[in-house]
């Protein structure tokens, strides 16, 4: 399908069938919008102008870059397990109000994964990874740094086991940075492919939600740790990752605050919660969409000034990116990616942990519930309601199973508010791509 959209004075055409992005003048934009059934006055176009526009459209069609038929690709069928999210502990040293994980406890007892269970999870991954060479493990919590020694032992164990099998692990840790000392920093820089550091932005925003067990804001306790860590990180991957809520709908200021503090790899996500005063609601959407534009403008301004930074959601890789099979497959949770609870129980992903309906087995049993796995394996772009006529489908892939399920009760029913934010971020990402290309060619 063809999607036309405006970003300030710029007019864009995105063809989802081919994945091409074009820019056009107002007349062509109006003509295409009219052609696509949108309200657009084209009465002022002369016959010659229409002829020229139609000729341009025909040329692109012939080149397979406009109105291209959409893919018939379907998800690849595979039983290989690629990745595990290891919940090394269900306990946390913070008590963040919006925490989907019940402030670290996952609606159960606070507990730590034993080293034996974590090693068994590594064995389970290797045993079920088939011919796949590169395996991924994310140490997650709760707060993983409460178990640093266990993580170290498990990483060394995994590397040894992988080497013997001709495989390699990529490790990630997600941390609130409260315990991110020199020892942890050294270990992370040596062993972690990626580190995700939670920081919500401005001190008052962060402190309003991310509190210590004693109820005090944690900003001052983590900011220097994160700065020191990022300074030591070199060219290895990291993300400073924040969450915004209904309390800071001006979240672009938080992203820019993070950039001003020297962090050049940033992600900022809308909260997933049903807490009334924090939840993102439909009435917030106009402000949120405008805020993404404000962020996009400042992002480009800083890029032009040589002070650019990486914002996760403005990266849209149209020229490379995944193959079509991946693009229609969604995230892989419950089929190639699983979460392991501290007792070894397996769930489709971290957002389902603790929900007995989604328990898929245990790493000690070594097998997965075929019924649940089958359901997740079948979930793809083509089982999603509403996605068929959405321009963003091959970029978003139908959204997050867990978010869909928690908001609408159906993994295949995308949550409308999330869809609107996703589409806006993708349009911003396309604008970023076009303007960066223009600056490069100057």
């Amino acid at each position: 399908m063809v999607h036309v959209f405006k970003y300030k004075e710029y007019n864009y055409i995105y063809d989802s069938g081919s994945g091409s992005l074009h820019e056009c003048d107002d007349k062509t934009y109006g003509y295409l919008a009219h052609m696509l059934g949108q309200t657009a006055d084209i009465s002022y176009l002369t016959a010659d102008e229409i002829k020229e526009i139609e000729s341009d459209i025909a040329s692109l069609k012939d080149a397979g870059l406009l109105f291209k038929e959409e893919t018939q690709a379907r998800p690849a069928k595979s039983n290989e397990v690629k990745a595990l999210c290891i919940h090394i502990c269900h306990d946390c040293n913070l008590r963040c109000r919006y925490c989907f994980a019940d402030e670290g406890a996952y609606h159960s007892e606070r507990e730590f994964m034993s080293e034996e269970t974590a090693k068994r999870a590594i064995d389970f991954l290797i045993e079920n990874s088939g011919n796949r060479k590169v395996l991924e493990v994310d140490f997650f919590g709760g707060e993983p740094l409460m178990c640093l020694q266990t993580i170290k032992n498990v990483v060394y164990y995994a590397k040894e086991k992988a080497a013997a099998k001709g495989k390699k692990f990529l490790f990630t840790t997600t941390t609130n940075a409260l315990l991110l000392n020199d020892d942890a920093t050294k270990f992370f820089n040596e062993e972690m492919e990626n580190v995700v550091l939670s920081l919500d932005g401005r001190k008052e925003v962060h402190d309003a939600i991310r509190k210590t067990i004693n109820g005090k804001g944690s900003f001052d306790l983590v900011i220097d740790n994160i700065k020191k860590f990022v300074a030591s990180r070199g060219d290895k991957h990291y993300y400073v990752r924040g969450t915004y809520t209904a309390k800071n709908l001006d979240f672009a200021s938080d992203v820019l605050f993070l950039a001003d503090n020297g962090f050049d790899s940033i992600s900022m996500e809308p909260v997933v919660t049903d807490i009334d005063d924090l939840q993102i609601k439909e009435e917030h959407l106009p402000q949120i969409l405008a805020e993404y534009e404000r962020l996009c403008d400042e992002y480009l301004k800083r890029y032009e000034e040589g002070k650019g930074f990486n914002f996760f959601h403005f990266n849209v890789d149209l020229e490379g990116g995944p193959c079509l099979s991946k693009r229609v497959s969604a995230c892989g949770a419950g089929n190639e990616y699983f979460s392991v609870a501290p007792n070894g129980d397996l769930y489709p992903c971290h957002q389902f942990v603790g929900d007995e309906k989604f328990k898929m087995g245990n790493v000690y049993e070594g097998k997965l519930d075929g019924g649940i796995r089958g359901t997740f394996a079948e979930n793809c772009l083509f089982t999603r309601k509403k996605c068929g006529d959405c321009f963003a489908k091959y970029i978003c892939s139908g959204g997050c199973n867990a978010n869909n399920y928690h908001f609408t009760g159906d993994m295949n029913d995308p949550y409308g508010i999330t869809c609107e934010m996703m589409k806006k971020r993708i349009e911003c990402g396309m604008h970023v791509l076009a303007r960066k290309r223009e600056l490069k060619n100057k």
């Binding site: 074009h22 690629k82 990745a83 996500e269 996760f312 890789d317 990116g321 892989g332 992903c349 076009a434």
Partner: protein, 52 residues
Amino acid sequence: MIKTIAKPAEKKVTACGECRSTCQSACKTSCTVGNQSCERITREENPEKITK
């Protein structure tokens, strides 16, 4: 006037399976597949990523 900004490399249904599990990224709540790279191409272009 229409100017092409991005013309994808030929989209193949390679399904080699080397791609990352999408959720192992920065967000863990609102992932997009399209902002990821093809892992196989990345690794072929950066062989040290699999040998180190």
